[in-house]
């Protein structure tokens, strides 16, 4: 099997955009090529596009050929769209990785994005009913996580003593990291008091505990090692391991809301393939759609013991200088969360961290990790990256 490298990455501006989905994909593709001038659109033999709500909010299906056309890409190996809601981008990277590893494709652009802010604000909230089991959970008004994650937060607080302050600290940290990110939605620091006193969304989650609705796109280029050597002069960053686990979808079939077994399974597979343990990870981009999710992710990814995610952030272990720097580019809480774009944004940050050219570098990071959960905590996606030594 061949080795697979990530050799370029770029983003459109993220936020509430005065732009259509295709325009943002063009911006992201251009930024990606500009990130590595040694690779051009003529070098790309495959395109995988990641987007979840394209039919509902951009009224566009058959998206990949449209994006290929708009970026001057003529594919030979693969041209298709991948959807796994909030993990669409990471899923597309896994698909491209598998195709390159096995020899079906050589140089693949993976582009993901979403147009969520439409003239009528309720469109996105309405579409969210389709993201859970529509007929049996969505019909109760259960859209995307606020309600479910608020319950998870309450249960985690009860069971492990996690506090609202500890949750707020995740937001304060990620907002601080995000001020360096010119492409992110929010670039203002917040202090603990602001986070604690913010408007309640669904108790105990307040405004700054929740990521926003975001328009934006991002793109990366993956290549087989042989081609990567000619298409970049930067240190090679490899995809070392992947895992994607789903155990149940409907709320009635969840076994434990505060213990995310699917994430343990997905991450253990990814670590095993990479030949590492959680201790090797010095930088990680995890799915902080809500502050409580980042806390539980520390635990299930093995960065700390189960139940100790709150003290982990409180003691600075997930910040620069701690055990593992988490969401160094600001995460979903700062950058925003255009579903299909998020996993790609995470990959770009890890690539830059491992090449030593991030906005703020984690010292001596050899391995990095990205993680997303999707739906109502129904699926977990993990990728481990490593740089050449």
């Amino acid at each position: 099997m061949r080795k697979v490298c990530i050799i370029a990455g770029g983003m459109s501006q993220w936020g509430i955009r005065q732009a259509t989905l295709r325009e943002m994909f063009q911006e992201a593709g251009k930024a990606c090529f500009e990130d590595n001038p040694m690779v051009t659109n003529k070098d790309i033999d495959g395109l995988i596009v990641a987007s979840a709500y394209t039919e509902r909010l951009a009224t566009q299906t058959h998206l990949a050929p449209l994006i290929a056309e708009s970026l001057g890409i003529k594919t030979r190996s693969v041209c298709a769209r991948v959807e796994l809601l909030c993990a669409s981008g990471s899923s597309a990277i896994i698909m491209a990785y598998g195709l390159i590893k096995s020899g079906v494709a050589d140089v693949v652009m993976v582009a993901g994005g979403e147009k969520l802010n439409t003239p009528q604000k309720w469109e996105a909230f309405y579409s969210q009913l389709c993201s859970v089991d529509h007929d049996f959970d969505g019909a109760h008004g259960l859209g995307l996580p606020p309600a479910a994650l608020a319950m998870v937060a309450k249960l985690h607080m009860k069971k492990y003593g996690t506090t609202e302050e500890q949750m707020a600290m995740v937001s304060v940290k990620n907002r601080r990291n995000g001020i360096n990110n010119p492409k992110g939605q929010f670039r203002e620091c917040i202090d603990l008091n602001t986070a604690m006193c913010a408007k309640v969304v669904a108790k105990p989650l307040k405004l700054y505990d929740c990521c926003p609705l975001t328009d934006g796109a991002a793109a990366v280029i993956l290549a087989c090692e042989e081609k990567a050597k000619y298409l970049t002069d930067r240190p090679l960053v490899y995809i070392m391991g992947t895992g994607q686990c789903t155990l149940y979808n409907a709320s009635a079939n969840k076994v434990d809301w505060t213990s995310w077994e699917a994430l343990r399974i997905a991450s253990q597979k990814a670590y095993k393939e990479a030949g590492i343990t959680p201790d090797h990870i010095k930088v990680a981009q995890t799915h902080d759609c809500f502050t409580i999710s980042e806390i539980i992710e520390y635990e299930e990814l093995g960065f700390c013991k189960k139940g100790e995610g709150g003290p982990f952030v409180e003691s600075g272990q997930s910040d620069f200088g701690g055990k593992v720097a988490v969401n160094t580019d600001g995460g979903l809480l700062s950058c925003g969360h255009p579903f299909g774009g998020t996993g790609i944004r995470q990959a770009i940050e890890i690539m830059k961290q491992l090449q030593g050219r991030a906005m703020r570098n984690v010292e001596d990071a050899q391995f990095g990790l990205t993680q997303n959960f999707s739906g109502m905590i129904a699926a977990q996606t993990v990728l481990v990256y490593g740089r050449e030594i």
Binding site: D137, A148, M151, V201, A202, K254
Partner: protein, 165 residues
């Protein structure tokens, strides 16, 4: 010129809050027929004994098609609840009360709580099935358009002190 975005008198399947109903559109119509009789039911596999929720047409465990409809308890216990104050999907009113409810002997799921005094619901409270009519959908059969009546359900507090009647 008037676009269709305002949906005057029209039905758009992409905008539908509730499951399709009527034997022409679903194979689990008994679930909705039973709801109409104030019964909360689901399917159980006669071969392996697996109780499924949501109800199925094929057992997700052993893939048998030999399933039977069984009654579930209509009363459950609140494990945890949440009041959603902003950002609820259109079609639902704020505050939207959702609860994790244990249906004894079956499963724990998230369900909407209606007729509930704001802030009254506590872990340990008993809640019970409450069935209501929802918007019918206009279905085309040949040149005829027929309104298909639909029902759905939520739970409500058992304690009259916590209920808005």
């Amino acid at each position: 010129m008037r676009g269709i975005s305002r949906l005057e008198g029209k039905y758009a399947v992409t905008m539908d809050l509730y499951p399709p109903q009527g034997k022409e559109f679903t194979r689990i119509q008994p679930f909705f027929d039973n709801l109409r009789q104030n019964r909360f039911t689901t399917t159980k596999c006669k071969k392996c004994g697996k109780l499924s929720y949501p109800p199925r047409v094929i057992c997700p465990e052993c893939l048998s098609e030999d399933l039977e409809w069984v009654d579930l308890p209509k009363e459950g216990t609140v494990v945890e609840s949440v009041v959603e104050e902003i950002g609820v999907p259109i079609g639902f009113e704020t505050p939207l009360v959702l609860a994790m409810v244990e249906i004894p002997g079956a499963f724990t799921f998230i369900v909407r709580i209606i007729n509930c005094k704001p802030g009254a619901l506590q872990a340990g409270d008993k809640v019970r099935l409450s069935v209501f009519e929802v918007e019918p959908f206009p279905a085309e059969f040949g040149r005829e358009t027929v309104e298909i009546a639909r029902v759905y359900f939520a739970f409500e507090p058992v304690d009259p002190e916590k209920r808005i009647n």
